[in-house]
């Protein structure tokens, strides 16, 4: 089976975000980039499926040259081939999904794994839209996946519980933390990855469905009052929450 894993390359979670000079993008100076954490679960799930039923795992990225770093990491974990849809344009999420779907279709993949959301623009939309463009089934936010005889049973996290969802291939699964423990790339894996191919493909410019007016930082919060450290301070706190904040 041909397995696709879509991987994004994002600022590390420890990054302090600053707005860049154009007011529309973040200032990337000094920012460390990582594989989108939820996509690591997706890579692991793809590798597990390959180990179970055999096949080829394609990792697909969309973005600038730097995205190759995340693709390389996925190859070092055990993915077989990398594909970079190379662009410097910032696409809207619908267009990103469409471009990924076209590539997945041309590769002939029957199953797609990706993270439940990318931790940069936090849309939680790409996987569902890829499935729509491909006519695949899709279960999002999956914390447990069982594949038996061509059918899938996924548990997806919802408020206060889980939904047990049944579906069939071809399918897109978006991974939530808890679905697995991603493996570390072994030294052998890292060496092997050096021989693996990352194919670059150019992406045509396209009109965006969204217009970004700019990024801004949330208004800084004024540090509040320290009420003390004892039982009296707690009494004061409860009084303030009741009478001043009016939240309890």
């Amino acid at each position: 089976m041909k397995i696709a894993v879509c991987v994004n390359h994002v600022p590390d979670t420890a990054t302090k975000i600053k707005v860049g000079p154009d007011g529309k993008k973040i200032d990337t100076i000094g920012v460390t980039y990582i594989v989108n954490p939820y996509d690591e679960y997706a890579i692991e799930e793809g590798l597990k499926l390959k180990e179970k039923i055999s096949g080829t795992v394609y990792v697909i990225g969309l973005g600038g040259d730097s995205h190759k770093e995340s693709l390389k990491k996925a190859l070092a974990m055990g993915a077989d081939e990398g594909i970079l849809l190379k662009t410097d344009q910032d696409f809207d999420s619908v267009t990103v999904a469409k471009l990924l779907a076209e590539e997945i279709k041309s590769l002939g993949c029957e199953v797609v794994f990706t993270g439940k959301q990318s931790i940069d623009f936090d849309n939680s939309a790409t996987g569902q839209m890829i499935s729509e463009f491909l006519g695949f089934n899709c279960v999002s936010n999956v914390v447990s996946l069982t594949i038996e005889n061509g059918s899938l049973e996924a548990e997806r996290e919802i408020e206060g519980g889980r939904e047990v969802v049944k579906t069939t291939f071809p399918a897109v699964i978006t991974a939530q933390k808890g679905i697995n423990e991603p493996r570390y790339a072994s030294l052998k894996g890292i060496m092997a990855a050096k021989k693996k191919v990352i194919t670059e493909k150019s992406v045509a410019q396209s009109t965006s469905k969204t217009k970004s007016l700019g990024l801004r930082l949330p208004a800084p919060k004024n540090p509040g009052r320290i009420l003390g450290s004892d039982a009296e301070a707690i009494k004061e706190l409860v009084k303030l929450l009741r009478e001043e904040a009016k939240v309890i």
Partner: protein
């Protein structure tokens, strides 16, 4: 003609509060933007519509099928996409719940239109909507517009108010019995997590961190949350340590929350955590370390021992709540 379609999410025969927030928000723009505001509901048996009082849409389209007591994305999407009909512009409103997050992108892709997820602010300026959404888990805000005539948006729960004295009148229901719905993706059952509220929907959250010393002390957090009628949250540190389940994690790789009150106990305030709760209306921090970054965000700070002070906090809350 411009119209809004608001998806009303039903769980256990009740329309979710976050769906009412979306409906109330859409109705704010009736007359000054939308000509009509309609709602859509999928169910086995119709929910209680009395909670809509003050926020009555022009009509409610009820889609009925025995399978619709649980989520069947393909069937929901198909019906919603047809509701667009001949309107010049249709804006779909969802709440950014687990279901809304799953369904809204499918509708946007089906209509090939612009999508804006997890909005925390909407402005109508010169006849155009400007949407604001937190990005990088809330470390920054993006102001954006959708350039397609049809639009799909999801609103973050707990952010938009439900107006009580808004549109009133009779509720106009149109019921459609859906035959042979697409069940290619089918929810077969629900597994409820033990415990109460989910952090993503709670208006009060009490979260614990390393400062609690061990999982055996977490009952102190649960008691306070219980007294306040809130949900239990956790820092990434205690989730990674296995004290608490991931569903309780607040922060960049957990849940981003906007309650009216967030109580952080024994949490120092890593940047990932602060990002995930910074939009809370009021923040209380209890921490021994007076230099902890959490105090930079807190409206009220207590620089004491959490284990000693939590029971007192709980007692005081019980006293005033009678």
């Amino acid at each position: 003609m411009k119209k809004a379609i608001v998806f009303l999410e039903v769980r256990e025969s009740r329309i979710k509060k976050s769906s009412l927030e979306a409906l109330s928000t859409a109705l704010t723009y009736k007359g000054n933007y939308f000509d009509e505001v309609h709602a859509a509901v999928f169910c086995d048996t119709p929910p209680d519509f009395s909670t809509l009082e003050g926020n009555i849409p022009d009509s409610i389209q009820v889609y009925k099928n025995i399978e619709f007591s649980l989520y069947t994305p393909q069937a929901f999407k198909k019906e919603l996409a047809t509701l667009k009909s001949d309107a010049v512009e249709t804006v779909y409103f969802f709440s950014n719940t687990a279901l809304g997050k799953d369904l809204a992108p499918r509708v946007a892709a089906a209509l090939n239109c612009g999508l804006a997820m997890d909005l925390t602010e909407i402005k109508l300026e010169n006849g155009n909507f400007t949407f604001t959404r937190p990005v990088f888990a809330g470390k920054a805000l993006e102001d954006m517009q959708l350039e397609t005539s049809d639009k799909v948006v999801t609103l973050r729960p707990n952010v938009f108010p439900v107006k009580t004295a808004g549109a009133s009148g009779e509720i106009k229901l149109t019921t459609t019995e859906v035959s042979n719905p697409d069940l290619s993706i089918k929810t077969s059952s629900l597994k409820k997590a033990e415990g109460m509220l989910d952090v993503s929907e709670a208006s009060i959250i009490v979260s614990g961190g390393r400062g609690l010393k061990g999982p055996e002390n977490y009952h102190l957090i649960e008691s306070l949350a219980d007294a306040l009628g809130g949900a239990v949250g956790a820092s990434r540190a205690v989730v990674d340590a296995g004290w608490r389940p991931h569903r309780e994690q607040v922060g960049q790789t957990g849940k981003t929350v906007s309650p009216s009150l967030y109580v952080a106990v024994g949490i120092s305030g890593a940047i990932q955590h602060l990002a995930g709760m910074s939009t809370s209306k009021y923040i209380v921090a209890i921490n021994k370390d007076k230099d902890a970054p959490i105090f930079q965000m807190a409206d009220y700070g207590i620089t004491g021992d959490a284990l000693e002070l939590l029971p007192i906090f709980t007692e005081e809350v019980k006293k005033i709540k009678g």
